[in-house]
Amino acid sequence: MKRQVPLILCFLFGVVMILTEFSPHAASQSVYNEIVNWTLIVWPFATVLAVATLVQTHWARIQRRSEHWQYSYVVFAGIIVMAAIGVPFGMKHPAFEWLFNNVQVPMGATMFSLLAFFIASAAFRAFRARNTEATLLLVTALIVMMGNVPVGDLVWNEVMAWSPWSDKVSEARQWILDNPNLSARRGIILGISLGGISQSIRIILGIERSYLSGGDA
């Protein structure tokens, strides 16, 4: 019961998912849709449990007065406010929408926009011509950046006036993206697919079962 049943369930669901993919018949498509639907229904239950662990963690922090414990109250406030409005009144309630639009969305957008800073600092630190590989990385990044903005064109033409490569940076950018970049991506995608498929085969056949509590990996 502890070991065999999960392996059988895993096998059954895996095989059914594969077979329905090859069978356009209405019956197999409805099985497929039903299973997809089931996996979505299971979710809310796991969420409840996960939220319970979060509450537990923060409650423990407050009890133990660990560093910055006061902020755990902020977490609770956030959960309670959103859940107290959203659960009984629904997600279309004006107060819920107001909080979502004026608190959650701006914070999300701001976190996202931090990338503008981090992309600059990462480029400055990492793009050093230490060896051939790093140089290739650096040079292509520079060409693409220059080719992306009109002023890049101008600067490039000034700097490269002596060479046969002036006046060509936008084209070079596009060519790099469409050719060597695409072939590298293809290679990566092919490798990932093979790796992912073989892992899936191991799991469905019950050869790999580490996810079932790590035992005989």
Binding site: F112, S121, F124, F127, V149, V151, L154
Partner: protein
């Protein structure tokens, strides 16, 4: 000195980024700008339309990506209202409705255009393909009323418009793949002329359509908006945007080049 530069505190980089964003925004510095062919084509197409023509604008972008398409919408609408061209707005993205409403109202107010006579926002309906196909037969069959709930039959400018036959251009402002659907279902099936304005990330996917003539013109990212603003001679968010973006690019390129020069000198010293 070089060592210091190499191990420069990242906060200095952050400050430089902030400066590169804010200074061009506040000072309105203008970098030289040439107009590319796809932008020119779109401008020419709209510019040659007689007044009283109607174009449709599809606002197919969400709140996470409006920075690039919105200036395009503003520039094109300014051009249309100046020329007496009517604008019908709609969206295939549920989150875009308020964005579209805001930008339409803003430009209309600026140009003295009147809702219902010079422009109308139809709003959003579910099922992008059904919406596109349905409007080819009859717009009112998809949007029985506009965004504010006024029945289409009560909107003066919609009196003479039944379907795509009375629409001279559809401009799709997109952050995703909605162009594909517009081309397949509105252009190929109903012969509606289509122009596009897209974010920088997906521009290269648009070139094939431009080559085949399925798009009458194309605005690409901030650059496209800036070029259009230059053509109508009213600088706006596009020119500001492309300037800012250009300065940040120059900053990053400059930092990388500087870092490498310092790195080389440092290595020379260590070897010597």
């Amino acid at each position: 000195m070089f060592e210091k530069l190499l191990n420069m505190n990242r906060q200095i980089v952050f400050i430089l980024v902030v400066l590169a964003v804010i200074i061009p925004m506040l000072l309105n510095i203008r970098l030289p700008l040439a107009v590319s062919e796809p932008t020119q084509k779109l401008y020419d197409y709209i510019d040659e339309l007689p007044s009283e023509s109607t174009i449709m604008i599809a606002f197919d972008y969400g709140p996470s990506s409006f920075a690039e398409p919105e200036p395009m919408a503003e520039a094109v609408m300014k051009h249309c209202f100046d020329k007496g061209i009517k604008v019908v707005g709609l969206t295939l993205d549920p989150e875009a409705v308020t964005l579209a409403d805001n930008v339409m109202q803003k430009i209309a107010e600026e140009k003295g255009a009147i809702n219902g006579i010079d422009y109308v926002l139809l709003g959003y309906r579910e099922g992008p393909i059904q919406v596109i196909l349905g409007m080819g037969v009859e717009i009112a069959s998809v949007f029985e009323s506009d965004y504010t709930g006024t029945p289409l039959s009560d909107i003066p400018m919609m009196a003479d418009i039944t379907n795509y036959d009375q629409i001279d251009l559809l401009l799709d402002l997109a952050a995703g793949t909605s162009i594909d659907a517009w081309i397949t279902f509105a252009n190929t099936k109903y012969g509606l002329k289509i122009g596009a304005g897209v974010t920088g990330v997906i521009v290269s996917e648009m070139y094939p359509y431009l080559q085949t003539g399925q798009l009458v013109g194309l605005l690409s990212g901030f650059l496209g908006a800036a070029e259009y603003e230059k053509l109508i001679d009213t600088p706006g968010k596009g020119i500001a945007g492309i300037n800012t973006v250009s300065f940040v690019h120059l900053l990053v390129v400059g930092l990388v080049v500087l870092g490498n020069i310092a790195f080389f000198i440092q290595q020379r010293k260590e070897q010597g």
